[in-house]
């Protein structure tokens, strides 16, 4: 039982961090499809940084820095250049996936997986079997709480929500929605870096190409499923993680009798289900994505 919970926490923590990044962006009015790209950048930077500098802390800082820069670039393209959020987000993801591939090739000369000498610090033997979990897992509930506090109990959070929901109302009280979105994306960038770090260096300390496997998009879906609320979105993310863990478990139990790939597909199916369900619950009317830009009138 313990190892199931550990597996869920391991796979769920990166998903939760990236979901929180998505929630904050959503509140500010941004549909962030670049989460996947930022996450893999964070993962790569953490592992490669550890290999190159020998220090996980330095590598983590580099990962955060790169993700923040990427987020600022995204903000610039979407806010100042008014690009379509969805396409630009996919572009950002592509840059992350391609950029990490390029970096690996350039530094190590091959496309093979990179192994880091050290990973994130673990919680420690005092927690028994759970000691193998990384510190970021322990910090995850705190992150959720802080996110909730920020968005739902501070004036900053209200101003952020206003910037996303009713930018004119925000401007009428002197808030700059553009600046709010920048803040939201930068915070999100940090969270995505942490997500990537946990994914790569949280347990196995390996970076392989495309290791995010759509988790960034699942995080985005969790935001939709949770209607942009930090607590509900976190639960949705954990739900996806549970489904994923069950899939792997089922593989072990049922062996070859159920196709391996079908079980791997469970999280994606769960995501589709989640999006459908949340749309049903909200009456199905408002289907319009936030930023259609030139492809929509408004």
């Amino acid at each position: 039982m313990d190892d199931v919970v550990i597996a869920i926490l391991r796979s769920g923590t990166p998903l939760v961090y990236v979901t929180l990044a998505g929630v904050i962006a959503q509140r500010a009015g941004i549909w962030h499809l670049g989460l996947e790209g930022l996450m893999i950048t964070g993962a790569c930077a953490t592992v490669v940084g550890t290999v190159l500098t020998g220090s996980v802390a330095t590598a983590l800082s580099i990962a955060v820095l790169i993700c923040v820069v990427g987020s600022i670039l995204f903000w610039f393209v979407v806010e100042k250049l008014r690009a379509n959020q969805i396409i630009a987000g996919l572009g950002l993801t592509g840059l992350g996936l391609g950029g990490t591939s390029l970096a690996i090739q350039s530094i190590f000369g091959s496309q093979a997986a990179i192994s880091a000498p050290a990973g994130l610090p673990r919680i420690g033997a005092a927690f028994g079997a759970y000691g193998v979990l990384s510190v970021l897992v322990l910090l995850m509930p705190l992150a959720v709480f802080l996110c909730w506090l920020l968005l739902c109990r501070t004036r900053f959070g209200l101003r952020l929500s206003a910037s996303g929901e009713h930018p004119f109302a925000a401007r009428s009280v002197g808030v700059n929605p553009s600046a709010m979105r920048l803040a939201a994306l930068v915070i999100g960038g940090v969270l995505c870096a942490l997500a990537g770090a946990e994914l790569a260096a949280g347990s196995l300390q390996i970076f392989s190409q495309n290791m995010t496997a759509g988790r960034g998009f699942m995080g985005f879906a969790a935001v939709i499923f949770g209607a942009g609320h930090p607590l509900w979105a976190t639960l949705a993310a954990l739900f996806f993680a549970v489904v994923g863990a069950l899939g792997i478990r089922a593989q072990l139990v049922f062996g070859d009798r159920i196709p391996h790939d079908l079980l791997l597909g469970l999280p994606y199916i769960a995501t589709v289900f989640g999006v459908w369900l949340s749309a049903r619950l909200r009456g199905g009317a408002k289907a319009a994505a936030g930023g259609f830009g030139e492809l929509r009138d408004n």
């Binding site: 506090l149 004036r155 109302a169 401007r171 009138d297």
Partner: protein
């Protein structure tokens, strides 16, 4: 340099341009402290832009704004609020999903972190002190229009505002609501707050304001003038100017709100054959939460029926029900005697239904699409989806129609969003007011239009009536309804609560709008 201490607001040579459009043209004006000032003008005269410049929302290209002697840095709302200026917007700046407490909080200063309970207590106290009967826990989207306005005003009064600007506050209120608002404004004056009201009805100005200033075409015509002994007709002339065509007495009165029109009785009211009939129609609640309840309505041939009522009392549901865009639970809808209750909107259009929707930009036009596409949409929908079309032919037809309706445009390929409001509405008219129409629903057709365009729309509707069409005319402006309609029906909470024939009495209709008399 404190200057004259009794001047609360001084603008010098303020100019604002949006691209090619001049919104304000070298406006210089000063207002005295402690009085109620009115700024009037027709739509497009620059009143809202003026209000936004003073409150810091818009930065003027030229000129300066001084509050109590201190010059404001243009374009900074924070700066203006520091100086004590607060603006209440025409369409409220309240995020719909926020609770009232949250809406008040996010504009306030002090206190970063809060608990839900503490927040609600703090703001409930403030609301109660201002005699606003709204619960701090309620969500903005559940409030009525009057309540939302009260919340907006309460929010503006959180900081000690010295100058409160209200942009077209009476546009959405019933006559009684407007009176209550003026009461509130008078009480604010007693407290020493200077109030600047953006209005466009003369009689409102004369009822509440101490001074009046007139804007026209972005310029200051005159002002501030004292309102005591002010001649309404002189004011009307200043507002309209000489450029608009000759208007008859009742129209002029309706357009400027100088006096309430009484409406004309048209002959042979009884033997009109109905063009449309609704019997006992019920619908499910709309997006704004109102549902029609047991609505009976008949519209005769060659008749304009005015639908009066405060916005949000079922007018949208009514229009959607007639169009077939709402889920009708019970009752029937007939067009020209045929039951269309199950018909789609496309089928109803075939049967002669035409609609000028509420929102010109969101529902009537696709702003980024070319004019000819906007104009042809209805025609194309009458054909099978895969039918071949000739864009050249459609463009020709569109051009002919737009020219016939005197639309100002350069070529039919330009996007609809590049037209002015009045011209855009003419495009919609050219599309909807064709010969084959039997019932025309005109929903707030003159909203946001200047006097010339408004008169044009009225003439078009009257011509349609003359052709034998039935017209359903929805408006929140009673002057307009009284001037145009042959019969006025009042809606309240999804029901039709009263019907009136000319001569119309403002008090009785106003009372029906708020349900004062059962």
């Amino acid at each position: 340099m404190k200057g004259n201490d009794s001047i609360i607001l001084a603008c010098r040579d303020v100019a604002v341009r949006y691209g090619d459009v001049v919104a304000l043209d070298d406006v210089s004006i000063s207002f005295q402290r402690g009085l109620i000032h009115a700024v009037v003008g027709q739509n497009g005269a620059g009143k809202t832009t003026f209000a936004r410049v003073v409150s810091g929302l818009v930065r003027p290209q030229k000129g300066s704004v001084e509050i109590g002697g201190t010059r404001l840095a243009g374009g900074s709302v924070n700066d203006a609020r520091q100086a004590g200026v607060e603006l209440v917007h025409q369409s409220f700046a309240l995020p719909p999903s926020f609770t009232v407490a949250e809406a008040m909080q996010f504009g306030a200063s002090g206190g970063r972190l809060y608990t839900r309970g503490g927040l609600e207590r703090r703001w409930q106290a403030h609301l109660d002190a201002l005699d606003v009967r709204v619960s701090a826990q309620a969500r903005i989207r559940t409030l009525t229009v009057e309540q939302q306005q009260a919340v907006e005003i309460a929010r503006a009064l959180v900081s000690d505002a010295r100058l409160l600007i209200l942009d077209e506050p009476t546009a959405v209120l019933s006559p009684e609501g407007a009176s209550k608002l003026f009461e509130r404004v008078r009480r604010l004056k007693e407290r020493g707050v200077t109030v600047l009201l953006i209005l466009h009805k003369i009689r409102e100005v004369l009822a509440v304001a101490d001074t009046v200033s007139v804007l026209r075409g972005g310029r200051l015509v005159d002002g501030p003038l004292s309102t005591s002994g002010m001649d309404g007709d002189r004011l009307a002339s200043m507002i309209i100017g000489s450029s608009a065509r000759a208007l008859d007495g009742e129209d002029r009165a309706a357009l400027t709100g100088a006096a309430v029109p009484h409406g004309e009785t048209h002959a042979a009211a009884a033997d009109r054959q109905p063009v449309a009939r609704l019997r006992g129609v019920n619908t499910r609640p709309d997006e704004d939460g109102t549902a029609l309840q047991a609505v009976d309505l008949t519209v005769g041939r060659g008749e304009i029926v005015g639908i009066a009522g405060v916005e949000g009392n079922g007018q949208r549901a009514l229009v959607r029900a007639i169009c077939g865009l709402a889920e009708v639970g019970a009752g029937s809808v007939e067009l020209d005697g045929a039951d269309v209750s199950r018909a789609t909107l496309a089928e109803r259009r075939e049967a002669g239904l035409r609609v000028i929707p509420f929102e010109r930009n969101a529902e009537g036009l696709s702003l980024t699409s070319p004019l000819w596409e906007n104009w042809s949409a209805g025609r194309l929908l009458a054909r099978p989806l895969l039918s071949a079309i000739s864009p050249a032919g459609l463009r020709r037809d569109c051009k002919a129609a737009l020219d016939a309706w005197d639309v100002r445009y350069a070529h039919v390929g330009q996007p609809a969003g590049s037209l002015s409001g009045g011209n855009a509405q003419k495009v919609i008219l050219s599309r909807e007011m064709d010969e084959a129409g039997r019932l025309v629903i005109a929903a707030q057709p003159t909203r946001g239009l200047d006097i010339g365009a408004t008169a044009f729309v009225w003439e078009a509707l009257r011509k349609a009536r003359g052709r034998g069409c039935g017209v359903i005319f929805v408006s929140s402006d009673l002057d307009e309804i009284f001037d145009l309609a042959d019969r006025v029906v009042v809606m309240l909470s999804g029901r039709i609560v009263a019907e009136f024939r000319p001569p119309f009495d403002l008090e009785r209709v106003g009372a029906a709008m708020t349900g004062a008399r059962a």
